[in-house]
């Protein structure tokens, strides 16, 4: 059984320029040993760049990077105690699965036979025992992915890096493999930094999610914190769709705030808000729509789409147009229907900012 000495990761005021373009202006981040941290954010926000700096494939323009307490800022990729699973897997096409897995071991000075044995073990760990002789081209996408993971893991790195490891898999496989990766990480206890742009994936696997935007950290925290207490409308929208509407905080009492949207009043966790104007993130499923009956916020259905297990509406209200998914209604409301809007107890968060 492989034994890991999980390492911590620290970024200290790291800046990265590509020519005159600043990809990462000033990044500081601490990752606890043994946790799985995802870097989440829209395309081009600097996730891959951050990961590559950690791997040593890019060097920061300024700032320091520490792995396991040791300054590695100037260390080349091959002398860092991290390993990486590439988006394209980057399996060497001229080597068999076993040779691929043994490659890193041999590079670190292990003798041929020993390396082969450990590589077999690594393949077995990802459920590919006996497939070692196959060339990458003779493996399915999911199997290739697992060879890539095994190849990185057998080196027992302090930190494992994964750059969108599931993006080349089909949707069904994605769900399974992400569970496998998470299980492996929890079983072996290594530190992992996981890059993705898919919030479902992030929510499913992470101990901590770091949401990035334009090279900055927009917010970081446990999945639940991010979902339930987004710090900004960007986070609210990025962590699952949300309607962000202006509201006013009437009073704060015992961790709960009373907010008013139009003539609708609602109680939500206060997230440190003070009375005054604020924003409310309303998940599409947290809105109840019914034919106009006097109570709640008045609105009018603009579009209505029947999708089998739920109905999607766009509803025009005084607080703006709301996107609503309704899983309860048996008969869809046609567009132009006058409706009343109610808020459900869950799925509504006050944006602290």
């Amino acid at each position: 059984m492989t034994t890991f000495k999980p390492g911590s990761v620290v970024f200290e005021h790291v800046r990265k320029d590509f020519g005159s373009f600043t990809a990462i202006p000033d990044l500081s981040l601490t990752i606890e040993p043994g946790t799985l941290v995802t870097l989440l954010g829209p395309s081009g926000c600097g996730k891959t760049t951050t990961l590559r700096m950690l791997a040593g494939l890019e060097h920061p323009t300024s700032g320091r990077i520490l792995i396991g307490g040791k300054d590695v800022t100037m260390l080349p990729a091959h002398s860092r105690d991290v390993s990486m699973v590439f988006q394209s897997y980057a399996l060497f096409p001229h080597m068999s699965a076993l040779e691929n897995v043994a490659y890193g071991l041999e590079s670190s000075g292990l003798k041929g036979k020993e390396a082969k044995e450990k590589a077999e073990e690594g393949l077995a760990q990802v459920g590919l025992a006996g497939m070692g002789h196959r060339l990458p081209a003779e493996l399915s996408g999911g199997q290739q992915q697992r060879v890539a993971v095994a190849r990185a893991l057998v080196l027992e790195p302090q930190v494992l890096l994964l750059d969108e490891p599931l993006s080349n898999l089909d949707a069904r496989l994605r769900r399974r493999v992400r569970t496998e990766i998470r299980e492996l990480q929890q079983r072996l206890g290594f530190t992992a930094v996981y890059v993705t742009h898919d919030q479902d994936e992030a929510l499913a696997v992470s101990d901590t999610i770091v949401v990035m935007k334009d090279g900055h950290i927009a917010q970081s925290g446990a999945p639940r914190d991010l979902y339930e207490a987004p710090a900004s409308s960007f986070i609210a929208d990025f962590m699952g769709e949300a309607n962000v509407v202006p509201c006013s905080v009437v009073s704060v009492e015992g961790g709960m705030a009373l907010v008013r949207v139009g003539d609708l009043e609602h109680k939500v966790p206060s997230s440190g808000a003070r009375p005054g104007s604020a924003q409310l993130a309303i998940r599409p499923g947290a809105v109840g729509v019914s034919e106009r009956n006097g109570s709640g916020l008045a609105g009018k259905v603009l579009t209505s789409a029947y999708l089998g297990d739920h109905v999607e509406y766009e509803v025009e209200t005084a607080a703006g147009t709301l996107f609503v998914t309704d899983h309860t209604v048996t008969t869809p409301l046609p567009s132009q229907t006058e409706v009343s809007i109610n808020l459900r107890p869950r799925g509504i968060a006050l944006i602290a900012a």
């Binding site: 791997a55 040593g56 494939l57 890019e58 060097h59 800022t73 100037m74 260390l75 080349p76 990729a77 091959h78 002398s79 860092r80 991290v82 390993s83 990486m84 590439f86 988006q87 394209s88 897997y89 980057a90 399996l91 060497f92 096409p93 001229h94 490659y103 890193g104 590079s107 670190s108 060339l135 990458p136 081209a137 290739q144 190849r151 990185a152 080196l155 890096l161």
Partner: protein, 749 residues
């Protein structure tokens, strides 16, 4: 850091050896001859660096020693950043100092009066650099490179900084230094004294610049004639190449395979052979000339000897290259664009003229410029056919070897030639930048190319078919010509030419190579075999650095390397003898100078092939290897080289063959000891021994076909296996980096 220490230790040992164990200066009879060993270390000629300082009154070497010790002292420091800085400074200063002292102090003391007045006269001068000095130069370059790596340059990768530094160092020494010497040479005599009057006189020479042929009094100057010839050759080979490409891709021509086969010919044909064959056909005693004179009483003329003849030979020689460039371009025009044009009610002619042709424009310009540069650089055909109507490349040759012996004239002519080709090269680079409309994409682009308009179809066949027939005749001639007694007079068959060139006899149980050709043949093979792997290695390493690394000045680096492609062989030749005939580096007459010449002349093609192949490899493969604890050197060996095998083989074959066939630079650099096949053949032609010359040429062509075929079979197999292997893993990137002309693969394909 441990790694850093180990390589530094090796460097320090190497540097110490340079000062202690080998002669500092050049050994006249050759370092590898080991004739110096008995006198070592006390005689002044062979003393190592340390003794040169201590007992032979050459105190300036002490400065190099000091710089070396400073660099070595970095070993005692632990702070990576300041240690790196110290190494880089010591290394950089060391290289510069060695170069400066080498240039400033020659055989008899200071080479320049200014240094003499500043520092006072020296008690004695110094010969050229030898093993010690050269080793130390390399040590300094590596000090510099490793220092930069320790400071984090190139992500701290010492292999990369080392490779880049060495490449820049080598290109400076073997490309820029000779060219610079040539410029200096234009204002010097052979003994090195400053005499600008030669430059001024030659610059104003009406023989170079006269416009007589336009104004109506006399001939035009050689510069204008060369330019005119190059333009016509560029046009001719482009039109022919386009016709070929159209036939190969847009018609039902039955001999397409044969057409492709013909494209291999120019790389295996020594450049003067076409000219030679033309002489046999159309010369004063050529078969066709004689037939015409016998049948119609047409007076045998000398029309072939001059620009017309050279032009025909060059168009024949360079059409295949142009074809290779244009076939990619013609295939690159997306069929769906042509189909779209047709659905928009445009006929075939209109579609061709308004859609296809404009899309090919950058490719056509490219082909033209290649023809232009090749024509300027061509030496063999003008030598055989030029007669008294020489072009720049031959005039340069005659300026040094002939009775003129006027190095400053040669330098001036070379500078003019270089200006022409470099201008064309720059025009190509800047004008074509971003104008590559080749529309091949990774997506399957279905649809078929439309047929050519009928008139055009006839037209291109009308060009291609006679050309093919003519080519077959020309090559038939070359084979046949080696077997007839005296061309034009006595056509009875004989093997006497082959016997003269390649006879072998057995004496006392040993083989005696009695044929006259053997000597140069074996030299050629030896030099080609040594330079081919070096060329491939340097070329592919450069390609790797250009494609995979990013560093300041990278564009300049790439540009400078590619530029050496545009330096005509004649210019290289003349610049090498001007540069490497005197201290600080003397190499003339050695095999080394031939090898250096081949490596740096043929490298750009290896670079180009390497770039094309490397861009097809997903970059994450090397990155994966790096994150798997393999350093760049191991990555190169285990991942990149195995995947690049076809490109490597192609580069090897190409540089091997080029080393055998080239003549323009070689003819300046051969010596009695190291004579090459091509220059020997040219000598035969000059003596009128056509039979032997042709026999020898045919033999070379045969040897090269055998070699290429052998390699082709090897590569062919590998490739099949490899393609099976590569399929379906890494996402394939469609690259189109080949705007510059044929890549190696294309050439040997």
């Amino acid at each position: 850091m441990q790694n850093g220490n180990r390589r530094l230790d090796i460097l320090i040992l190497l540097g110490a050896a340079a000062f202690l164990l080998v002669p500092w200066y050049r050994i006249d009879r050759g370092f590898f001859g080991l004739s110096w060993v008995p006198d070592f270390p006390f005689s002044s000629n062979v003393a190592p660096g340390l003794l040169q300082i201590a007992s032979h009154d050459r105190p300036w070497i002490a400065i190099a020693l000091l710089l070396f010790l400073i660099g070595a002292s970095a070993r005692l420091m632990t702070n990576a950043s300041s240690r790196g800085l110290l190494m880089a400074i010591a290394g950089g200063a060391g290289v510069l100092f060695l170069a400066a002292q080498g240039l400033a102090i020659s055989f008899s003391g200071w080479a320049w009066t200014i240094t003499e007045t500043v520092f006072g006269p020296l008690s004695q001068g110094q010969p050229s650099m030898g093993a010690g000095a050269v080793t130390l130069s390399v040590v300094f370059v590596l000090f510099f490179a490793f220092g930069l790596a320790e400071r984090g340059a190139m992500k701290g990768d010492a292999f990369i900084t080392g490779s880049i530094s060495l490449l820049i160092f080598l290109v400076t020494v073997f490309v820029f230094y000779p060219i610079g010497s040539m410029f200096a040479g234009s204002v010097q005599d052979f003994d090195g004294s400053f005499r600008p009057d030669g430059l001024i006189r030659n610059m104003q020479d009406p023989g170079i610049w006269s416009l007589g042929c336009i104004t109506g009094d006399g001939r035009c100057g050689v510069a204008w004639r060369t330019l005119w010839l190059a333009v016509m050759t560029g046009l001719g080979s482009t039109i022919m190449g386009l016709a070929f490409a159209l036939v190969a891709t847009r018609t039902q021509f039955p001999f397409k395979k044969g057409l492709r086969l013909l494209t291999v010919l120019p790389i295996i044909t020594p450049p003067f052979v076409i000219g030679l064959a033309l002489t046999l056909l159309f010369g004063r005693s050529g078969v066709i000339t004689e037939a015409l004179s016998a049948l119609f009483g047409i007076e045998p003329g000398r029309w072939l000897y001059g620009l017309t003849g050279i032009w025909i030979a060059q168009v024949l020689s360079f059409t295949p290259i142009s074809f290779l460039v244009l076939i990619g371009v013609v295939e690159g025009v997306s069929p769906s664009l042509e189909e779209a044009s047709q659905t928009l009610r445009a006929g075939r002619w209109k579609t061709f003229l308004k859609v296809s042709l404009p899309l090919m424009k950058p490719g056509l310009a490219n082909a033209f410029l290649i023809g232009f540069i090749e024509s300027m650089a061509d030496f063999g055909n003008p030598l055989v056919l030029g007669g008294s109507h020489g072009v720049l490349s031959t005039e340069i040759f005659f300026a040094v070897v002939g009775s003129q012996n006027d190095p400053s004239r040669a330098a001036v002519l070379a500078m003019i030639l270089l200006t022409f080709t470099l201008t064309a090269f720059m025009a190509q680079r800047f004008w074509l930048k971003g104008k590559n409309y080749a529309t091949v994409t990774g997506k399957g682009d279905s649809g078929a190319h439309i047929a050519l308009p009928r008139g055009l179809n006839w037209g291109v066949h009308g060009i291609v078919v006679p050309w093919m027939i003519f080519t077959v005749i020309v090559y038939g001639m070359i084979i046949f010509g080696g077997f007839v007694k005296t061309w034009g007079l006595d056509h009875s068959l004989t093997i006497e030419h082959y016997a003269k060139a390649f006879s072998i006899s057995f004496a006392d149980g040993a083989i005696a190579w009695t044929g006259v050709a053997w000597n140069s043949f074996w030299t050629t093979m030896e030099i080609a075999l040594i330079s081919a792997p070096l060329t491939a290695a340097v070329g592919l390493l450069t390609a790797y650095i250009i494609v995979r690394q990013k560093f300041a000045g990278q564009n300049a680096f790439e540009f400078a390397l590619m530029m050496s492609f545009a330096i005509p062989g004649t210019v290289i030749g003349i610049s090498y003898i001007l540069a490497f005939n005197l201290p600080p580096l003397e190499m003339t007459g050695s095999a080394l100078i031939l090898i250096a010449c081949f490596v740096f002349r043929n490298m750009p093609v290896g670079v180009r092939g390497g770039i094309a192949a490397m861009s097809q490899l997903d970059k994450s493969l090397d990155e994966a290897s790096l994150t798997l604890r393999a350093n760049s050197a191991r990555t190169m060996r285990k991942v990149i080289l195995p995947l690049l095998r076809p490109a490597i083989t192609a580069a090897l074959v190409y540089s091997f063959v080029r080393a055998i066939t080239s003549i323009s630079a070689v003819i300046f650099l051969v010596s009695a000891e190291y004579n090459m096949a091509t220059s020997y053949i040219v000598g035969l032609v000059e003596n009128g021994e056509y039979g032997v010359a042709i026999a020898y040429s045919s033999m070379l062509i045969f040897v090269m076909i055998t070699i290429i075929a052998g390699f082709q079979m090897l590569v062919g197999e590998r490739r099949l296996r490899r393609e099976n292997r590569v399929a379906g893993t890494a996402p394939k990137t469609q690259s189109n980096s080949g705007t510059q002309g044929p890549s190696v693969q294309e050439k040997t394909a």
